[in-house]
């Protein structure tokens, strides 16, 4: 979607019904367009970036950030997206839909199931996990394959027989997988298997958060915002592939003292859940005068 494809009349009609406008992908051409019209109509405007691209003006002219009363970053790392732009940045971590993603005692855990969720793209680092799958375990990747070369690369890896890519799953099916999984891994990387660089591989780590809300122990890489998730009980960060291998082995050796599913879910909800997010957001808005 580009700005010239948008009917300004329809956009303005939508905006007229709002007091506060949240603009997602706020630095994209379309995001800036929506924010500009919100500002022309005197609305409070908050911007969020999910890595959906940046209009050249965003970094050419820092003043463009004045379109927003504040940027809302989902993580400390996400806040860095706004470093070069004028404007207030507030970090409110999350949110994850903790009412939808939760522990389900009716679903039995599959002790051999390792789960990864996300688009099958090189910066997701799935190739880092595949060689480390224990022989008595299997890795299910739930997500569409947007890079056929990468998909082919994964399928040719030595342990590929223990890898299954499931495309086109519904939210409910993914939630069930999260509730079944023994371990969830988010191995995103700044440098992919061809050494291509990604500045923002993760700005939050929503899939990992959803798994944590389902009470699933989770391993996250040190890329982007993922290290911040390790403050949640049951979530552990790894730096390199060696450390990832050791953590996987440790998980399957059933080391004692690990938090149970309810503890993990409760902590994720308390730190990143909808209620926690909403409370912080309203506090910020009240402080700025956008909410009474």
């Amino acid at each position: 979607m580009e700005p010239h494809t948008i009917s300004v009349t329809e956009l303005d009609t939508c905006l007229d019904g709002a007091d506060v406008v949240f603009v997602h992908q706020c630095l994209s051409a379309t995001g800036l367009f929506a924010a500009a019209h919100a500002k022309l109509r005197g609305k409070w405007t908050f911007g969020l970036d999910h890595g959906g691209g940046e209009h050249p003006l965003a970094h050419h002219s820092p003043e463009i950030g004045r379109l927003f009363d504040a940027f809302l970053a989902q993580s400390n790392f996400g806040a860095s997206s706004f470093e070069d732009i004028e404007g207030r940045v507030a970090v409110i971590k999350g949110p994850v839909d903790s009412t939808y993603y939760s522990v389900n005692p009716q679903v039995r855990r599959d002790s051999s199931l390792i789960l990864a969720v996300g688009r099958v793209l090189p910066h997701k680092g799935i190739d880092r996990i595949v060689p480390l799958i224990p022989e008595d375990a299997r890795l299910v990747v739930a997500g569409s394959c947007y890079d056929q070369d990468y998909g082919q690369y994964l399928r040719q890896m030595p342990a590929a027989s223990r890898l299954e890519i499931r495309e086109g799953l519904s939210d409910a099916e993914i939630r069930t997988l999260m509730q079944e999984a023994s371990l969830f891994i988010q191995a995103s990387t700044h440098f992919d298997y061809r050494q291509r660089y990604y500045a923002k591989p993760e700005l939050l780590g929503l899939a990992a958060l959803e798994a944590l809300c389902c009470g699933t122990p989770t391993l996250v890489s040190s890329a982007g915002s993922l290290p911040e998730l390790s403050s949640i009980r049951g979530c552990t960060m790894f730096h390199g592939d060696g450390e990832l291998g050791a953590l996987i082995r440790g998980h399957f050796s059933r080391q004692p003292g690990r938090p149970d599913a309810d503890e993990i879910s409760r902590d994720a909800r308390a730190k990143y859940g909808l209620e926690a997010y909403g409370h912080q957001l309203l506090t910020l808005m009240a402080e700025m005068g956008a909410w009474q």
Partner: protein, 423 residues
């Protein structure tokens, strides 16, 4: 009150009555104890170094008025629709000077439409003083207009912008250009300074030719040819007891050649150009002003100035000034044709000297009573104070975001215009 005046040109350099009017109002407000800062274009620089209570910042870009050659069509579009440089400068001044009221005079060429929309979006207390239509030349059906609306949305101005207009004529022109009916909060005529005029009686001048004067830009739209046509027709009818003197700048050579070509030297003369202060006294030597200007004339200060000197205005009906005077009482209003002008001239020539003098006295009386600056300046100031009572703090803060909105939308607008043919 902190007042920001915006005018594309601000004296000492000037083009017409609009800029001089802006100076007088700004000075009047400063004399009233208000802090007045002027933002203006830099086409005319001030080299007088005279100290003034008014700070003038010649920092705006007036696209059509440039000392450099360039793409005139592109400049016209920029000057009519959008100039981010000017938006940014204005927004910055509003914030840094803690402005309470923005007073717009002639913003034509400054990106007029966006200036109005910017102030509307910020809800900044604003008065647009319409001595002319700042959106003149904006064709709402043009490609440029459609492109503007596709990016910026429909041009609807908020009620934080109030209007002082010189006439219903100019208010209507503005509304039509904008495509949104707007009405003036106050009508103020083109004024005169009574103290600049003599106080002597107007006596009948018997057995002397009736003296007509034309004083304006020497240009077709002001009716220079209509005057020649009318004079030629009078002579053709055997009327000899009259004269016409032209004053002003413009297409002078063409005028002089035309007078010669028509064989009117004996009746019609070009007398040069005089400063305004001299001209008001010169009007006292004439029986009537000929002003067959175009019908979109927002007012025509010269009508007030001539009338106050006892020089009966003969002017195009429906121009701004015609709304303030009464036909056959203190002026003559005509259709814009040479025949109508000739008939009006003949009417005045045919009057006996005493009746003509009485007509002149009536014009002088009306102008001095109803069109004096001393009468209107307090009314203007009162309107400014009333508009400035609206809280401006939130509006000043809003300029930050709205400025950024114009910056981004402006970049899209320019991008979209790259492939447009200039229309």
């Amino acid at each position: 009150m902190n007042i920001l005046v915006v005018s594309n040109v601000f004296p000492p350099g000037f083009v017409g009555g609009f800029e001089l009017g802006a100076l007088e109002v700004a000075t009047g407000l400063a004399d009233g104890g208000h802090k007045v800062t002027v933002l203006s274009g830099d086409y005319f620089l001030d080299e007088t170094e005279e100290s003034s209570p008014i700070e003038v910042r010649r920092i705006l870009n007036c696209a059509p008025m440039s000392h450099e050659l360039g793409d005139q069509a592109a400049r016209h579009i920029q000057g009519t629709y959008f100039d981010f440089h000017n938006i940014r400068r204005m927004a910055n001044s509003i914030r840094s000077l803690q402005i309470d009221l923005v007073l717009l005079f002639n913003i034509q060429g400054l990106g007029a439409l966006s200036i109005l929309r910017f102030l509307s979006a910020t809800r900044m207390p604003t008065i647009a003083y319409l001595m002319d239509n700042p959106l003149h030349g904006l064709d709402r059906n043009s490609i440029a207009s459609q492109r503007y609306e596709s990016v910026f949305g429909a041009s609807i101005l908020g009620d934080n912008i109030r209007y002082i207009a010189m006439s219903r004529n100019v208010m209507q022109q503005f509304s039509e250009s904008l495509g949104q009916p707007r009405s003036a909060h106050l009508f103020v005529p083109g004024w005169i300074h009574v103290e600049q005029y003599g106080t002597g009686a107007i006596s009948p001048r018997r057995d002397l030719p009736v003296r007509f004067v034309f004083c304006s830009r020497i240009a077709p739209h002001k009716g220079i040819d209509l005057v020649l046509d009318a004079a030629e027709a009078l002579v053709g009818q055997g009327v000899r007891n009259f004269s016409v003197d032209y004053f002003g700048q413009g297409q002078v050579a063409q005028l002089i050649q035309s007078i010669r070509a028509r064989g009117l030297d004996r009746y019609v003369s070009y007398r040069g150009s005089k400063p305004k202060t001299e001209m008001v006294r010169t009007f006292e030597d004439y029986d009537a002003l000929l002003f067959p200007t175009w019908e979109r004339e927002p007012f025509g200060f010269v009508v007030s100035e001539a009338a106050a000197a006892g020089c009966v205005p003969i002017m195009t009906a429906r121009i701004g000034a015609s709304e303030w005077l009464i036909h056959e009482v203190d002026c003559l209003k005509i259709g814009r044709t040479s025949v109508a002008l000739k008939n009006a001239m003949h009417h005045l020539i045919a009057l006996d000297a005493e009746a003509r003098s009485e007509f002149r006295r009536a014009a002088r009386r009306s102008a001095r009573q109803y069109l004096s600056f001393a009468r209107w300046m307090p009314v203007i100031e009162s309107e400014c104070c009333s508009a400035g009572l609206l809280p401006a703090g939130a509006a000043r803060a809003a300029t930050v975001g709205v400025q950024a909105a114009f910056q981004y939308l402006g970049s899209l607008w320019r991008e979209a215009g790259r492939d447009d043919q200039v229309d």
